[in-house]
């Protein structure tokens, strides 16, 4: 069923790729699962807590992956000798 001679592109290779994937999964779980832990009608700066939690983690998720993604780009450029 498998062809052992080929590289598996699903698996991250470098440290930055592993960090990107780990950060992606962590933040995803914070929104996906964590929201249920804060499911209360409480205002945070005037915003419903569920909304503030999801938006906040969404921004953290984006910023972290942007940082790791740019590091992957730098690493990639270096490996190409650019």
């Amino acid at each position: 069923m498998t062809d052992s001679g080929q590289q598996n592109h699903l698996l991250p290779q470098t440290l930055w790729q592993k960090l990107y994937l780990s950060w992606f999964i962590f933040c995803f779980l914070m929104v996906w699962v964590g929201t249920w832990a804060v499911n209360e009608p409480i205002a945070v700066m005037g915003l419903p807590l569920v909304y503030a939690w999801c938006s906040g983690w969404g921004i953290i998720w984006l910023c972290g992956c942007l940082y790791f993604g740019l590091k992957i780009e730098q690493e990639d450029a270096a490996s190409r000798g650019d």
Partner: protein, 504 residues
């Protein structure tokens, strides 16, 4: 002048701007070639494609649909944050960049081009094209319905719903037939900016309307309907099962592999451009939905009695009742921008599939590129006409079909992954075809009979159930059927290794 005249004047201004942007000299190329009409052969750079994808990925659900969702289901809408971030960082960054890589290397034009290059040509091409096309017609229809209602309400009915549909259809027809993907992308750039300004302006106007700040709005909702502030929402929509599967399987996984997504990825200048868009476009996608809560809750505060599909009309009603006419015109044009930016991209992509995958593959194989582009333009007219006709009829059926669309496109995911992400697993043409059919059957059964089949704790999104069946069927059937041509697989794999696994 009556107030609705101002609204019409601003919408006319918007229409002229879009027609100018969509047919200007920047959308023209000297070369007459299919790969420079349906996609951009030299490729777009970061900024243009960024705004093109940003606008193209937001449909009429952005304006006015999202506000109606907040009105009906409250903060359950926050589930959309999952897709606005998951789709760029997961699907565009990881899969979209690979589609760009293969599309540029082998000059693909349609989604089927990529799949048949790997799995083999023949009837599989037409199967993929027709299957995908049948998914996309309802999506196109949905994109004109909401904005047409908005335009009709914003002009106090002086422009009828049908008239609004015809205006949108006519505009899209003009610039897509004139300039293909270039017209689509340049207009989407303008539309992305317009809708972003419109939605944020609307949020600040709503705060001024309630004469307070965010906390004032929160307190008023807590006093009138506190269920809007928590999950699962007043109607019980956002159950743990819905939350766990709808944003990812019902939206995120399929949104980037819609045909319009393929055309954008094929039109990127290089892999780096697509990756950068993947890393950053989530900021735009998310920021467009953030003000929707303020608008939806304000609309609820003023019109709490609206229920069902009338909730979608809450924002248009708020505008028509309280907004200055010029401001309503700005927002109405923003709604048109949201709908048209997806409708045009879908029309171009579907026209490409009909031309390349059906007409050029089975009806006239030896035509010139000029001939095929002419045929493509005829298909554009045909597709827009079907869309307008469908939108003028049964809206309930359209809503149902949008859900079906999500399930259908999601079933293509194993085939797309098989081509773009080498992972040492055997996928065959018969395997993925069987998986698509089995997955679609499972998702349809759960969509229409899920309430009878499953206990309440098992009512996950139908697209999820489709994949649960699709993946094992694909793998098992692939185990026993003829593998794709080894040379084609090796060629595609080498291109991906060269781009993504070099010197690591």
């Amino acid at each position: 002048m009556e107030s609705w005249h101002y609204t019409v004047a601003i919408v006319i201004l918007y229409a002229l701007l879009i027609l100018w942007v969509g047919t200007g000299r920047w959308t023209k190329v000297g070369r007459v070639a299919m790969d420079d009409y349906f996609k951009v052969a030299p490729g777009f750079g970061f900024l243009v494609l960024y705004l093109g994808i940003a606008g193209g990925f937001h449909t009429a659900f952005a304006i006015p649909g999202s506000m109606g969702f907040y009105h009906a289901h409250g903060v359950a809408f926050a589930a959309n944050i999952l897709w606005t971030v998951f789709t760029p960082l997961g699907m565009i960054y990881f899969i979209g960049s690979r589609i760009t890589c293969l599309g540029r290397k082998f000059n693909y034009i349609t989604p089927a081009d990529m799949l048949v290059d790997y799995f083999g040509d023949g009837k599989f091409r037409v199967f993929i094209a027709i299957y995908t096309l049948s998914c996309c017609i309802p999506l196109m229809t949905a994109n004109v319905t909401g904005p047409a209602r908005l335009l009709s309400s914003g002009t106090e009915g002086h422009i009828s719903y049908i008239g609004a549909l015809l205006i949108m259809g006519f505009m899209v027809m003009i610039y897509v037939t004139s300039s293909g993907i270039r017209g689509v992308t340049w207009t989407t750039v303008a539309q992305a900016v317009w809708m972003f300004v419109a939605v944020w302006a609307a949020a600040f106007w709503c705060l001024s309307l309630i004469d307070g700040d965010l906390l004032t709005l929160f307190n008023r909702i807590q006093e009138t309907r506190p269920e809007l502030l928590t999950l699962p929402g007043p109607q019980g929509l956002a159950t743990p099962q819905w939350w766990a599967t709808f944003p990812v399987f019902g939206i995120a996984l399929y949104w980037a592999i819609l045909p319009r997504g393929f055309m954008f990825f094929y039109s990127a200048r290089d892999v780096k451009t697509t990756k950068k868009i993947g890393l950053t476009v989530g900021f735009y996608l998310m920021a467009l939905y953030l003000p929707a809560m303020v608008i939806g809750f304000t609309a609820f505060y003023y019109f709490p009695e609206l229920v069902g599909s009338d909730a979608d009309n809450s924002f248009p009603l708020l505008l028509a009742t309280y907004a200055p006419a010029w401001f309503a015109g700005l927002i109405v044009a923003g709604g048109l921008a949201a709908g048209m930016s997806s409708l045009d991209a879908d029309t171009n992509a579907n026209s490409a599939m009909l031309t390349k995958d059906v007409y050029a593959s089975f009806i006239k194989k030896d035509g010139s590129d000029r001939h095929y582009i002419t045929v493509g333009r005829i298909f554009v007219v045909f597709l827009v006409a079907i869309t307008v006709l469908a939108a003028a009829r049964d809206w309930g059926l359209v809503v149902l079909m949008i859900g079906v669309t999500a399930s259908m496109i999601t079933q293509l995911l194993p085939a797309v992954l098989a081509v773009t992400v080498p992972m040492g697993i055997r996928f065959t043409k018969v395997g993925v075809t069987s998986g698509i059919i089995a997955g679609l059957t499972a998702s349809m059964l759960t969509r229409f009979y899920g309430g009878e089949i499953f206990p309440s704790g098992w009512r996950f999104d139908p697209s999820f159930w489709g994949l649960v069946v699709n993946i094992p069927v694909t793998l098992i059937v692939s185990r026993f059927t003829t593998p794709p041509d080894a040379q084609a697989v090796a060629r595609i794999r080498a291109a991906l290794d060269e781009e993504f696994r070099r010197s690591k």
